[in-house]
Symmetry: none
Subunit: 234 residues, 4 copies
DNA sequence: CATGAATGAGGATTCATTCAT
DNA sequence: TATGAATGAATCCTCATTCAT
């Protein structure tokens, strides 16, 4: 436990002993760690700066000295986690592979990262979106980046498919957007589920495979022009 | 306008004139309306009891008299909205139809309800889940109920398929659950998108169709044994 | 002593017993009383809202409920005291009397009021001017009103004098402004001194008479063209 | 520019380059310069030690090493400025001249000094008096010294006058003191005005002349027994 | 029923001040 | 000598909540 931990019984993040005289860069990371944890678990409003400072193993004024305000701390947390997630996904994608393999590897990376950083994921997915424009926008930007990536893969798949197809299907812009939203939503839901090991959630690879099964075949059908319609007979 | 509406320009919910001698049941609904609206738009913490009382067109002590505390008010709001959503979906499902039609009708009902009650949907999907255990659990329970329903439909579809299939596929329990989670997540994401009319989101029926296209084909492939696997070549 | 007076030993303003359920208008005056006292004695920054609330015999939130912020409280205090001072001076002036008598009666009223309301006077004269633009301006406006009144009296005196003068003097605008500044400054200084009874300061009438002696004769000389110049020989 | 000057754009006082190894006496003066400037412009509370240290071009701990605390720094600033003002006035007085010339030369010195050291004057006249007993007393002592000097001059003038007067007037001690207070107050007010060049204030000599015109004639009248009294008829 | 009056408790933020290097 | 790192102690302000009428 960290020295100086007072009343509430919260240990310092990472179990680090509260140490004196640490260089600024390190302290800042400790504070961000604490912020991510606290914000993810309690939400922006409920997390108190007292709590965060204690979790970081420092006094409150130091948090303000380095990060200026609760809002800026929140922003910094979001930025760090968003960057980490995007980086992880980028690193996981197998470049020069086929479109479906690229998507699958990206998804695997995504699920692996969110499973390893559940607080970061909660922060981005749940908390940041509830706190109004500035933060929501920040996350929306990251999401847009991912959606764009997925859209591009779908386009690539369409081209790949078209090469050998008897009757190449066309996908309108709205349809593509709908698919991207659905896919990202499904991924998020699976990530939540996968993050919850107690609920018997899947591993990252399993989640990625499930999602590919869910999405890839449907996409192929669409491209082939085999649409599902309500008028279809059971 | 409701009497007593003070400075801020907020009219009473539903445009109801603030009148004396209203039966308790009605007053409570007005308060819940106000609560849902305020909580959805500002979040639990940011919504103040003052604001809610004014929005409901009553005095603050009356809110306390009927609903005891902010927490209980929040819980009551969540419960009402969750029940309304589940009821709407249930009512929309065409019993005795084929599994895909049941799923489609249920999704249509879901998208229709969320589009008509955006504040309720925001409350459930965004706000309640960020306020820690007690409320998140409440919503999680509702979600589990829906996931279970979807899971059962997928199972039914599998059985239907098996009856006439040359080579019946098998779906492990985890796989089915995964698909259900993915589908529900996709639906939620589409509901958010559809709720945002300015972003050119789809209507309820369109959203349902998009999702069916996306999901049903994949399911069919799975049942046919055409699984996507990472080992697959290109 | 007022009930509920806690630690610091400060009694409520006016010695009033802390009473419950007082109408808003009355409470507001009590708060302003407390504010004037606290601000005058400690300055804007040093006076804490805790201290003021205790002095007013109420809890802090009530002060905020009625007066919104420390700044607004300060402004309200200044406005009330400025208005009271101007009103007192106006009421004291003997209209339709000769110019010197008008000036004398006004000064008497001024010294009487400042002596009876030393905290109000300190607030206006000392504290408000130290707190930057918004407040300084407020006081400057009041001061300007008084200077204008004095200037007008000097003008009237000049006309009265001119009627019977062999060689009527002229006063340039800058000279008049200088005289007005000097006179007001002298009055302020005497008010400070008069407010300090322990230092053997004069009564209001004495102070007024002293100032008339100081100022009126000099003014007469100027009008007569008998200027003091450094070149004058001993 | 001084090294270490960070963001806010504030240059070091006196444009001194921040240099290492400066003798203590010099450093202390730099700190006092910074203190006077900061305290005069922002007030005691608003001026932060950070700001002052930066303005002085040194690190905060050094300020504490040399001056111990904010209070002591403030006191030191007041003492230095008060001594400077008194010294300047003393040096300006033409000894062995007639009383009015002595007064005039002293006033000229006073106005010249305050015009050249506006921050010092603001510190003494405005800021120090609003910070409660310890500092106000310090300034009051200086003021008393000046009032005593003026009182003595008025006494001397009375004696000079008495020597050649047909009908020597008498001035009670209180009257003399009152006149002195009035004169000093008038001087202070004019100094404030003169410090504000934008408001078209006068030069030092002009201010002194204005005041002499204003005051000396009144004094002469008094000595001649021509007192203004309220009973006088228009 | 309905409400104006009132408060306890807690949270963000700032700053003078001190070490350890 | 000089400073980056760190904190205790306030201070302003807000809000859920309760009475007395």
């Amino acid at each position: 436990m960290c020295a100086g931990a007072r009343s509430k019984g919260a240990a310092c993040v990472g179990g680090a002993t509260r140490s004196k005289r640490v260089p600024r860069a390190v302290r800042e990371q400790q504070m961000l760690d604490a912020g991510v944890r606290a914000f993810a678990r309690s939400g922006y409003q409920n997390a108190s700066m007292d709590e965060i400072a204690e979790l970081a193993g420092v006094s409150k004024p130091l948090v303000y000295l380095y990060l200026n305000s609760k809002e800026e701390l929140f922003t910094a947390c979001i930025r760090r986690e968003a960057a980490a997630l995007v980086t992880a996904v980028r690193a996981a994608v197998e470049r020069d592979a086929s479109a479906d393999r690229q998507l699958w590897s990206g998804l695997s990376g995504f699920f692996a990262h969110t499973a390893e950083h559940p607080d970061g994921w909660t922060l981005l997915h749940l908390q940041a979106r509830t706190q109004g424009q500035p933060y929501a926008r920040e996350v929306a930007a990251m999401r847009a980046e991912i959606v764009a990536f997925v859209t591009q893969l779908i386009g690539a798949a369409a081209r790949e498919h078209a090469r050998g197809a008897a009757r190449p299907g066309t996908l309108a812009g709205t349809e593509v957007a709908g698919l991207a939203h659905a896919l990202v939503g499904a991924a998020e839901s699976l990530a939540d589920w996968a993050g919850d090991r107690r609920a018997g959630g899947p591993s990252a690879k399993e989640a990625a495979a499930t999602l590919m099964n869910f999405a890839w075949a449907g996409l192929g059908n669409l491209l082939r022009g085999q649409e599902w319609t309500p008028e279809r007979i059971g």
